[in-house]
């Protein structure tokens, strides 16, 4: 059955197709969750929305690509290089540029991050040009046949990778001294300062960890997605939607939100087509922002 | 002029304000005192429309204003100042006051003229061009008062307008407030500075933990044992009475 509306066709599909789409949505969603994890951590601690997040993802993806292209390193192994590299880059960026230029004021920091992301995107555009870059690994088309859909190894790796990293992050935040310091700063900035925590350092560490998460996500994404300078912009809106849906500052929220968005996007693509499917994200985003800005798991913070 | 009728407000499990009723008669200066955390600012917020009461009603000049928004309440003549002063930092003193003046005046030139006039009333006529962000705490408090005045209020809610001022500044502002009352404005103020409360107010309400525990002339209220206990703790009233008896016995003995 097909309905036509203003040039869009709506069809009904078999439950197998829908299930298949949903499953691939789960895998996609796990990567979104990983990207969102970094964003929610940064928001939770610095109380600002990192507008440079998408550009950081894009740069990390290029790093993984070039490590493969020039040095022949497999993307999954490249994770061991880009994740620490991402941490250092994020730390330096926050400590030197964002922290300083932002003057501690939220509105200005917002604009600084936008400026930084523009510089990063266009530097990439300048040096790498707009052509798509793809990584081809020998196993990227191998996988399992689940009947309703075919799941490739990179997708499984993405899901497992995301879960693993979330676990590691949770452990870090709960049991290490730095993790506790981060939680202290996110709850009560001045109080943390008074007990001797170097707040600027913690800000930078949090930003660094956020970037490291993004770098991990990049390594997991590259086998399936082609890289180009605009890809950051695409992921930014998705990442924000996930974080807003899941709740700012909540790890569980980032995971749940990521999975929900992943599935919704795939189903949206199925029913509304490639391009219109993306509107589901904007719509969810707007609705959540208006009616439940704290998201599913978020706490009320000003 | 103002009648608050059994107003209640809860925040989570905390009863910030419980069944509070009070009256502020026209043309008088009434004060609201009580220890910190008693709920005084919350009450002001409820009266001026910044918070909605869970139950109870607020009447201003005979009209029920309970669920109206602050800006419409202001237009009807009830204006509040804030305990933590919030000037329009990047604007000059004159521009700050003019914002209030615009409530009644549509033309820019009129509002600016009115601003100059009001500034003179509070003694800020020399600071008109200064940026509000560069003022001292006394200056900011004065500015807050001036801004509220320029809206031509009938009732002024002043929230700790003297906090942070030194003795001279307090004397100045007491004079100004008396002047405002003389010009026909009713004043309801929250204050901790007792000398001001005594010298200014015609009537006082005491709020403790969201409940009015006493009201009356300032002098009676401050010697009320319940009030003393609210500020100084349980048993304080007796202790003070005991000391007074001892010292008065000593005086009669020495005499």
């Amino acid at each position: 059955m097909t309905i036509d509306f203003l040039g869009i066709s709506l069809q009904s599909y078999s439950w197998q197709t829908v299930l298949g789409s949903s499953i691939s949505g789960v895998f996609l969603g796990s990567i979104y969750a990983l990207v969102a994890l970094g964003l929610t951590l940064i928001y939770g601690v610095l109380h600002i929305i990192n507008f440079a997040h998408g550009s950081l993802l894009m740069l990390a993806m290029y790093a993984v690509f070039f490590l493969w292209n020039i040095l022949g390193i497999d993307p999954y192994l490249a994770m061991f290089i880009v994740v620490p590299g991402g941490f250092l880059f994020g730390y330096a960026l926050q400590r030197t540029v964002i922290g300083k230029a932002g003057h501690g004021k939220d509105e200005i920091t917002l604009l600084v991050m936008l400026g930084v992301s523009i510089v990063m995107e266009n530097t990439a555009l300048f040096f790498f040009t707009a052509t798509d870059r793809s990584v081809r690994v020998p196993y990227d088309l191998d996988g399992f046949d689940l009947g309703v859909t075919y799941v490739v190894y990179p997708e499984i790796a993405a899901l497992l990778g995301s879960l693993l990293i979330t676990l590691v992050l949770w452990f870090f935040m709960s049991y290490t001294d730095t993790g506790k310091a981060i939680r202290a700063v996110s709850k009560e900035r001045q109080g943390a300062r008074l007990v001797g925590i170097n707040v600027e350092h913690i800000f930078a560490v949090s930003f660094g960890i956020g970037t490291a998460c993004v770098a991990a996500a990049a390594a997991l994404l590259v086998p399936t997605y082609a890289v180009h300078p605009q890809i950051g912009y695409l992921f930014v809106l998705i990442a924000f939607t996930v974080v807003v849906l899941g709740g700012m500052g909540s790890f569980v929220g980032a995971l749940a939100g990521g999975l929900i968005i992943g599935v919704t996007e795939q189903l949206g693509r199925l029913y509304l087509g490639e391009s219109l499917g993306l509107i589901t994200i904007s719509v969810i985003f707007i609705i959540v922002l208006l009616f439940r800005p704290t998201g599913l798991f978020g706490s009320k913070s000003s | 002029m103002l009648e608050v009728n059994a107003v209640c407000k809860k925040f989570g499990g905390l009863n910030a304000v419980s069944a509070t009723s009070l009256v502020v008669p026209k043309g008088k200066i009434v004060s609201l005192i009580g220890p910190n955390g008693a709920g005084k600012t919350t009450l002001f917020a409820l009266i001026s429309g910044f918070l909605k009461p869970d139950s109870g009603r607020v009447y201003f000049d005979g009209k029920d204003i309970t669920n109206e928004r602050p800006h419409s309440i202001c237009r009807q003549g009830l204006v509040r100042t804030f305990q933590v002063v919030q000037p329009f930092a990047n604007l000059s003193v004159k521009e700050n006051i003019a914002v209030g003046a615009h409530t009644r005046l549509a033309k820019r030139a009129d509002a600016l003229a009115k601003a100059t006039e009001v500034a003179r009333l509070v003694g800020m006529e020399k600071m008109l061009k200064q940026s509000a962000g560069s003022l001292t705490i006394a200056g900011r408090k004065c500015l807050e008062l001036a801004r509220a005045l320029s809206t031509e209020p009938k009732l002024l809610l002043l929230d700790e307008v003297m906090a942070g001022l030194n003795a001279t500044e307090i004397q100045e502002i007491v004079k100004i407030i008396n002047g405002i009352r003389d010009s026909g404005v009713t004043i309801f103020l929250i204050e901790h500075v007792m000398q001001a409360v005594m010298s200014l107010s015609d009537y006082t309400y005491v709020l403790n933990q969201g409940v009015i525990i006493a009201d009356g002339e300032p002098r009676e209220v401050t010697s009320n044992p319940a009030v003393i206990e609210a500020y100084l703790g349980h048993g304080a009233a007796e202790r003070i009475a005991a000391i007074r008896t001892v010292s008065s016995r000593k005086e009669t003995a020495d005499a």
């Binding site: 203003l6 040039g7 869009i8 929305i49 507008f51 300083k100 230029a101 003057h103 939220d106 509105e107 200005i108 917002l110 604009l111 600084v112 936008l114 400026g115 930084v116 992301s117 523009i118 510089v119 995107e121 266009n122 555009l125 300048f126 040009t129 809106l237 924000f240 391009s275 509107i279 904007s282 985003f285 707007i286 922002l289 208006l290 800005p293 | 910044f50 928004r69 602050p70 800006h71 202001c74 204006v79 509040r80 100042t81 804030f82 919030q86 000037p87 329009f88 930092a89 604007l91 521009e95 003019a98 914002v99 209030g100 615009h102 409530t103 033309k107 820019r108 801004r147 509220a148 809206t151």
Partner: protein, 338 residues
């Protein structure tokens, strides 16, 4: 700097701008000035809500694109005269502004959340304009037919075949007039009660509310005004290039361009967007001249530079170039009087 001095400076500058075509014949310079003024209008639109109102929109492409599309579609589909359709473009875009404003302000969105929602709306319209092909011609974009009849040049607002002067300078004067109108409107706003209230809302919403300002209405007014001015830039774009498509209309480029100029030039000032636009495009041109040979004319150089300037201005010049000029003026004149 006294108001009279400012006014004289302004008028002189504008008179100069209006006479430039008499002295400059290089097409490249005319193009440069046209583009600078175009971005100045785009920036002034953003400035109303962002600079004066303190609400930063990251999705002003929404207003630009809607203005451009309405202007294009009414001519394309119904053969309306551009002089007629432009009013619909302005009104329609103001309505879109009202919708976004209503949703955002009614639900109390501020700061980053407001920026995000404007981004989401721009992206949503981007997707819609690409998909609702029946209305917008989708990815093909809308191509307006070139009218080669010189007698119809003014009525169809197309100057390419209208004789030497109009061909060279027609659009220059168009964007100059639009800029004058937009800037005058903002200048008047600054001196009005609405302007004073808008700025109060920016500085402190609670205090503004306590002083009798209906903050919701003021913000709504600001976003509609901002939308209309931005739509004017969209209308100009459609007429000049006779082509609009989803990426140009609703892509992030215009949203970003809209905020560069006022931030660099000076938020909340009338001249800010023009100063800012001149500065960044001027620096861009000079850089391209100097480095262009070495690095080749690859895309992205401009924006890298703009991004760096933005961050530097935010770090060191919080009041932008306009603030810098004020400070220098004060120093020079205080020096003289001392």
């Amino acid at each position: 700097m006294s108001n009279r001095v400012r006014l004289i400076g302004w008028c002189t500058f504008l008179v100069m701008l209006s006479l430039i075509p008499l002295f400059i014949t290089s097409g490249r310079w005319i193009d440069f000035l046209e583009m600078t003024m175009f971005v100045a209008v785009l920036g002034q639109g953003w400035n109303i809500l962002g600079g004066y109102g303190g609400q930063y929109s990251f999705g002003n492409a929404l207003f630009f694109g809607t203005g451009a599309y309405i202007q294009a579609l009414l001519q394309f589909k119904f053969g309306l005269s551009p002089w007629f359709s432009l009013w619909f473009a302005l009104a329609g875009t103001a309505l879109v502004g009202a919708m976004v404003g209503y949703l955002s302000f009614r639900y109390g969105l501020r700061g980053s959340y407001f920026a995000l929602i404007t981004l989401a709306f721009a992206e949503a319209f981007h997707v819609l304009s690409r998909s609702l092909t029946a209305i917008t011609e989708g990815g093909h974009g809308v191509q307006l037919t070139l009218n080669q009849n010189p007698d119809q040049a003014i009525s169809t607002f197309q100057f390419n075949f209208a004789g030497e002067f109009l061909k060279a300078y027609g659009f220059y004067y168009t964007i100059f007039s639009i800029m004058l109108i937009a800037f005058c409107a903002v200048w008047l706003m600054e001196r009005s009660r609405f302007g004073a209230q808008l700025v109060a809302v920016r500085e402190n919403e609670d205090s503004a509310e306590a002083l009798g300002i209906n903050t919701f209405r003021v913000k709504m007014g600001a976003i509609c005004f901002s939308a209309s001015i931005t739509a004017m830039a969209g209308v100009y774009y459609t007429q000049k290039f006779l082509f609009i498509e989803p990426g140009i209309a609703y892509g992030p480029a215009k949203s970003v361009e809209a905020l560069f100029a006022p931030i660099v030039g000076g938020l909340g000032t009338v001249i800010g967007p023009l100063l800012g636009s001149f500065f960044i495009h001027g620096v861009g041109e000079i850089t391209k001249e100097m480095i262009g040979h070495v690095l080749g004319n690859r895309p992205g150089v401009d924006l890298i530079l703009f991004g760096v300037i933005l961050v530097l201005v935010l770090a060191f010049l919080p009041r932008g170039l306009a603030g810098l000029v004020e400070d220098l003026w004060k120093r020079i004149f205080r020096g003289r009087n001392a």
